[in-house]
């Protein structure tokens, strides 16, 4: 597609429920990132997928968080048993990952705003 698409744009859920957030990167972009941004805060790295390599999960805050990327394209971030502190905007970004010599600028989606009541 023309840009990075995220859904839903807004999600309100009750504490303890599971949520799934979806990211559809730009076609041909092999690198995909998830970040979390709490209100008024910076970007917190969650997970990074690069091609067929094992993802870098070092930023996932707890085992309630998981992500997968199917077929090297669409990614789903799943948060189980949501807590109020999970409330944030979850941003997805992709880049073409043109090797180590490329500029590899990130293109961000509009984000999914999660509110846990």
């Amino acid at each position: 597609g023309a840009g990075v698409s995220q859904s839903p744009s807004n999600k309100v859920t009750e504490k303890g429920k599971d949520v799934e957030l979806r990211c559809d990167p730009i076609s041909g972009h092999t690198a995909l990132y998830w970040y979390r941004q709490r209100l008024g805060q910076g970007l917190e790295f969650l997970i990074y997928f690069q091609g067929n390599s094992a993802p870098d999960k070092s930023g996932l805050p707890s085992d309630r968080f998981s992500a997968e990327r199917t077929g090297g394209s669409v990614s789903t971030l799943t948060i189980q048993r949501t807590q109020q502190e999970d409330s944030a905007v979850y941003l997805c970004a992709s880049n073409p990952d043109r090797g180590l010599s490329g500029a590899n600028v990130l293109t961000f989606g509009a984000g999914s705003r999660l509110t846990v009541l």
Binding site: A31, G42, A103, N104, F108
Partner: protein
């Protein structure tokens, strides 16, 4: 682990004034990025700095990179209200596509 620090975190400026935002990072890097975020919006790319001594300019913004000092600066010249936004630097770790962001600098330009 790669750490990225920005300062100041909050900056209130008068229109017409100059100021500099600083971005320090902790490990060897070969790419540094500056992004802009308007309230309620996502991030947009401003600059990519690819080598030591690189300087990029767009309008009233100029970014530079000193890889030996592990420092990038974003200089604002003669600020105008339209520059009000949050500015993030991001660093790509050397030989890796992993990217980490600073906490952001919230800039407010007052008339």
């Amino acid at each position: 682990e790669l750490k990225v620090e920005q300062n100041p975190l909050f900056l209130s400026m008068q229109e017409g004034k100059n100021y500099t935002i600083y971005c320090n990072y902790s490990t060897t890097s070969d790419r540094l990025y500056w992004y802009r975020q308007d309230p309620g919006k996502s991030l947009e790319s401003l600059f990519v700095l690819l080598s030591n001594g690189a300087v990029k300019q767009e309008g009233r913004l100029m970014a530079s990179l000193d890889t030996k000092a592990r420092l990038s600066t974003l200089h604002i010249t003669a600020a105008v209200h339209d520059l009000s936004a949050t500015y993030f630097c991001a660093v790509r770790q050397y030989n890796n596509n992993d990217m980490r962001f600073g906490a952001g600098t919230r800039l407010t330009v007052k008339p």
